[in-house]
Amino acid sequence: MSFRRAFSGLLPDKAHRNVLCALVAAAALTVPAPAAATAPHPAPQTTVNAIEAEVMCPICGTLLELAESPQARREKVFVAKLVAAGKGKAEVKDALIAQYGPSVLALPKASGFDLSAYLVPILAIAIAMVVLAFSVLGWRRSGRESQPSAAEVAADAPQGEDAERLEADLSRYDL
């Protein structure tokens, strides 16, 4: 006797089975799964330390990671919130600029006295190149002046007996 036949009186017929399946499915849909009940936390794209090492505490004039002023503490909280929300480094920096202004970046302003931070290295390189060019020209000129002429070379060449002895010495080394 098969299982189905033995318990045929207890098992629902096809129509009832369909209704039962529909009820179970509906119940499954209405009861939220534990994983779906809580919103997923976005994966952090950067770290608080990485941001704090690259931005300033504008009031303190130091890197945020070194600052401990009340303003710096609030700025650190602001950064931590954005990092926890899954924002990337560029997004966090943009948000910091929107709140604290461009001075929050560890970059000098491109205006006023701070502009010299950009201009001075360029000027220094230009001056160094000019100095180097003058120096090379000078070296070449002094090298040319100190080079002996053909007549001087001929005059300094060994003569007579010295020339013969030199020739004999060199011939001994001929292979």
């Binding site: 504008p58 009031i59 303003q71 709140q99 604290y100 006023g112 010299s116 000019v130 003058f134």
Partner: protein, 173 residues
């Protein structure tokens, strides 16, 4: 003069010029009594809208630079509110300008210390620089014509307002 000496002279001249420019530039933000108040259209806090000091021209304005993280600013907030309530009928107002702060913290501050007077928000330290500010809070009394009548680089209390600010307003009105 050899080329090398000329280059050395030019290099020294460049460094001196740079230092001089730096010194002159640093002193450019100083303001004094009698100067026109530095002004700029700024977003209103908590918003929406925008505002400026010029909007209150014709009134005495006590401009207060503040930040939410500043403890003395918390202490002077109720003092400023009472001053505003006492004097608002006499063509006098207080205008708060939030500086060096983030907007969420500034809004929280205003929820904790409600002010009936208008508030503006300056991003970063741009307005602080315009006022030659050295910190927060700082207070500036502006005459109805827009000139600075008093500069006070620190928090105000009832005694200061009674003895230094009110007489100026009374004498001018």
């Amino acid at each position: 003069m050899s080329a090398r000496s000329l280059l050395a002279f030019l290099a020294v001249l460049a460094v001196v010029a740079l230092l001089a420019f730096g010194l002159l530039n640093k002193g450019a933000t100083k303001i004094a009594i009698g100067d026109p108040v530095p002004d700029k259209v700024l977003p209103a806090l908590p918003g929406p809208g925008r505002g400026s000091i010029a909007k209150y021209r014709g009134k005495w304005i006590l401009v207060n630079l503040w930040a939410s993280w500043c403890v003395p600013c918390r202490q002077e907030a109720p003092v400023l509110q009472r001053f505003y309530e006492r004097n608002r009928a006499d063509d006098t107002t207080v205008l708060g300008i939030n500086v060096q702060d983030n907007e969420d913290d500034a809004r929280t501050f205003l929820r904790e210390h409600p002010s009936g007077y208008p508030q503006l928000r300056s991003v970063g330290d741009e307005r602080s620089a315009a006022f030659g500010s050295t910190g927060v809070p700082e207070n500036f009394l502006v005459e109805p014509n827009g000139d600075l009548a008093l500069i006070w680089r620190g928090p105000v209390d009832e005694q200061f307002l009674r003895e230094r600010v009110t007489p100026l307003i009374k004498s001018g009105s």
